[in-house]
């Protein structure tokens, strides 16, 4: 047997195996089925965070119910401003290009998922023009502006490079433990 004959047999064997494997794959898969499943995955991943289901936030470690893009969300009980979660940010992080103010005001809200009260820090995100989406104004515990430390109408862009208000976060600081 010459070298050419031997190589021809090896190539023939490879060709047969590849052909068989491709046919096997084609028989057991469907391109439309693949596209269908991929589409479901992509759309589902986008919609899931909006569904009113209990979710655990790793950083804050508590169960929550509701839609963070709705003014009714439990953390917004004393919220005045626009929701960062509607503006390219989240409950706890500013949208790109905006800077969180270190100075903030703190309130307490009741979490219906576990029946406990929590301290919520409403940090303003600053340094960009106001985000006009999802304006919310809830007034639990709110006071008129002549009592500034308890008014949620105050813009808290202090200690930031720019005083331009963009949107507001709602960060859980701690459980509001009673003495």
């Amino acid at each position: 047997m010459t070298l050419n004959d031997a190589m021809g047999k090896v190539y023939g064997w490879l060709d047969t195996r590849t052909n068989a494997a491709s046919r096997q794959l084609a028989r057991h898969t469907s391109r439309r089925g693949f596209i269908n499943r991929m589409g479901t995955l992509l759309v589902g991943a986008g919609v899931l965070p909006l569904l009113p289901v209990a979710r655990a936030f790793g950083a804050e470690g508590l169960s929550e119910i509701g839609d963070p893009q709705s003014c009714d969300y439990w953390r917004y009980c004393a919220f005045g401003g626009t929701l960062c979660s509607c503006c390219g940010g989240s409950l706890t992080s500013c949208p790109p290009g905006a800077e969180p103010s270190p100075i903030t005001w703190v309130g307490t809200c009741h979490n219906p998922a576990d029946g406990k009260n929590y301290l919520i820090s409403y940090n303003d995100c600053c340094g960009k023009a106001i985000c006009s989406r999802c304006f919310c104004h809830r007034t639990e515990g709110d006071r008129p502006v002549y009592f500034p430390s308890k008014s949620n109408d105050i813009i808290w862009c202090f200690g930031t490079e720019s005083h331009a208000y963009h949107c507001t976060l709602a960060v859980v600081l701690s459980e509001a433990t009673e003495a």
Binding site: C77, A78, P102, I103, T104, W105, V106, G107, T108, C109, H110, N117, L119, I120, S121, Y122, E140, G141, D142, R143, S149, K150, N152, W156, F158, G159, L173, S174, E175, A176, T177, E178, A179
Partner: protein
């Protein structure tokens, strides 16, 4: 540092459903009423918001220092009882100022804080300037 003391407004930032109803642990009350400006670790944002770590332990050692702490506008106006306010102040002193607190420090009482906070600082800058002179000479 004079400017820091002059701007020492202990801003209380209470908002929310239970602020006026519940009595919280001193740590939670600090977070609710003080941490908005002074931050959870007391680090604050000097010079606009004075640091609560270290300096207060020395201030309480000066005559009038204990009284002053409860008369700072943000402190005296915090929406808490005299007893709760004393507990918050003691927590801040012991938590953030343990190294500078006098060895013979006795915790503030609700009665003491109540007397001080009702004595409104009509001219805080003048009062602080006088206190600061005593404070500076105590450090020499």
């Amino acid at each position: 540092m004079r400017a820091v003391l002059a701007t020492c407004l202990w801003v209380s930032t209470a908002l929310g459903t239970n602020a006026a109803l519940a009595a919280y642990t001193p740590r939670v009350a600090y977070l609710l009423h003080c941490s908005g400006c002074h931050l959870p670790d007391g680090k604050s944002n000097p010079p606009e918001v004075p640091d609560l770590r270290g300096e207060l332990g020395r201030i309480v050692a000066v005559p009038g220092g204990r009284d002053y702490l409860a008369r700072v506008p943000g402190v005296s106006q915090a929406p808490v009882s005299d007893q709760e306010l004393a507990e918050i102040l003691n927590w801040v002193l012991q938590r953030f100022n343990a190294k500078t607190l006098p060895v013979d420090f006795t915790p503030l009482t609700g009665k003491e804080v109540g007397r001080s906070r009702r004595n409104v600082l009509k001219d805080p800058l003048k009062h602080r300037a006088a206190l600061w002179e005593r404070y500076e000479s105590s450090r020499k």
